[in-house]
Subunit: 404 residues, 2 copies
Amino acid sequence: MSLVPPPPTPSSLSLSPRWLLGPGPSEVHPRVLAAMGRPLVGHLDPEFLTLMDEIQDLLRYVFQTANRLTLAIPGTSMAGMETVLVNLIEPGDRVLVCINGFFGARMQDIAERAGAQVTVIERPYGEVFDPDEVRAALSRMGPKVVAIVHAETSTGAWQPIEEIARIVHEAGGLIALDAVTSLGAIPIEIDAWEIDAVYSGTQKGLSCPPGLAPISLGPRAVEVLNRRKTKVRSWYLDLTMLQRYWGSERFYHHTAPISLHYALREGLAVVVEEGLEARFDRHARNGRALHAGLAAMDLSLVTDPNHRLPQLTCVRIPPGIDDLTVRRRLLQDWGIEIGGGLGPLKGQAWRIGLMGYGARPSSVTLLLAALETCLRDLGYPLEPGAAIQAASAAYAEAGESVMP
Amino acid sequence: MSLVPPPPTPSSLSLSPRWLLGPGPSEVHPRVLAAMGRPLVGHLDPEFLTLMDEIQDLLRYVFQTANRLTLAIPGTSMAGMETVLVNLIEPGDRVLVCINGFFGARMQDIAERAGAQVTVIERPYGEVFDPDEVRAALSRMGPKVVAIVHAETSTGAWQPIEEIARIVHEAGGLIALDAVTSLGAIPIEIDAWEIDAVYSGTQKGLSCPPGLAPISLGPRAVEVLNRRKTKVRSWYLDLTMLQRYWGSERFYHHTAPISLHYALREGLAVVVEEGLEARFDRHARNGRALHAGLAAMDLSLVTDPNHRLPQLTCVRIPPGIDDLTVRRRLLQDWGIEIGGGLGPLKGQAWRIGLMGYGARPSSVTLLLAALETCLRDLGYPLEPGAAIQAASAAYAEAGESVMP
């Protein structure tokens, strides 16, 4: 025995304090962290089944839906993306994917692996789609499913969805929505907008740890699911079985990640206590303050003001400034994490997240002060304190104190 | 806004204390629970990348392997099963699945969804395969992959693997091993036995919460992976990408479930501190004591003594005793969870788990005392105290005190 020797006994887990102000994970709410440390009950324990029901009700509220098939997939947001696509798609189905950033491209890859004939329409990083161009694509190819991103995490673009959903339905298609970065941060109304299928994650606007993917399917999507001629390609993500575990039958499918469910329930309870409208207002106020501060530093954003998310801001790195030098210093000196650019924006942009619990004045103020210090030290000409003043003014205009 | 009203503000999370003595999840080690409550760092933070490296080294120790491709899949054990199968299988491949319980049947389903031509050999629940019958099947159909379960969670059967691995290689095939219920509880030596691919879970012998699936692929399996002609059917579980995230490239694939990685690292550190041999001895001692106690109650086990796992015991429900009546009372009066039977054993057997942190005399003693009380109250003739005496004698024989 023990042919392979053990590694040196690991020291105890050593972790530096961090301000998670990147594209996610966001800072986990202290109540959620406390829930994670609770001892486990079994995944078929009556108390756990009650907790699953509660999570479904709470998710229906944040998704603004009455959809029965609303549950949490036992994987990260990318598992949510795959779940929605592989359950709706059968080999040979025509799928239209709208790509205006990094995550749209992933939907294309997943749809192709599910056997779809994929058509793509594209917009440059940072832009959003116009309903007319979606209509034109629909008339050319008549897809079964149209996949589109609500809040592009790679660019900070806020895609209007309601009219696009309407024209997809007029063309007889289903709309599948990526709400990974929108859920809990900006308005999303699954029933009012008639979204057929949506997926998200827990580690952004909900301020829970990553590891679960909330999803919801409406009546049209459920009908497509129930009428499938072939088995879903993924066993693990097969909603025909998962809905039986989350439904009254309690059919055993997998051993639910118990602790992550504790976390999700607690994170959703925090959302209910705050109220969705108050929560969206808070994200909007903090986003405006951040944007005002960045503007005062003469930094420009990748998205135009009409389609700019408050919770994820993609800011162009100014000429002569090195991406990694700044991000490393933010992390080392202040414990601040922001994100780098993805795809064509790699090295060209930073991504700043103000999501869930992290969307508060202390985050904005600290980040602006630290970034200004970094840039000034690197020789970038900035008036000291201008960013903080601009952010403070934005908060004052919103009637909010800036006490961190 | 807020068309769908919020549910009543949830009360705080109310959970009863439980003894998790079923087939999993097992009781989480207190040090692991504490790790779960730690604030998050980002999934690309240098400190998190170091932690991923540590987890890989620790997993190599518990798997007894030097395999580079050793990592934790961001999903439960069932995601581990799907990962191993979909990465090794391309459409049309011949696969042999050995089914002697509930989980073998799932491997068949997953292999078929991956496009394999599946051949099955079967053994009744509770039995194990003989190398000769595997050899005969190999000569009939020459599979690319042979899938087999090391420790059947549905029956408690302990399948000898080493010789079967050898004859699979002689026939030019790969062996894929389900080690969900074996890892950390009974010896498993991936390199010495030349296992090509293995998957497990965190929620059994490692006493971590469910939600991650440790896997390891050896050189032959990696070669098959790298020579694939088609893309892996699952994007989320595609090891050609996952190995680039866990490797030096740190290619972004998904947002790792940070807290579950904290838990896994801590759970593995506990294993290293105890040492694998001591850990296996502890499981063996506690399993023997349980089996002695059950025998003293005249209860019979589903497996024969030569292939009986210490960490998962499948015991026949005696005539005239109702399954649910007993399990409900154990849960309500003592907070003890044991498992029901699966498949043909539903209503016919109970499954008792002594896994990881749960494999200790207090668990065994409490369970035997509670079960004896239940059965006596239901009119089943038992000599009071006989089970505890038998278990105590077994512990004494092993030189262990029975102080809980």
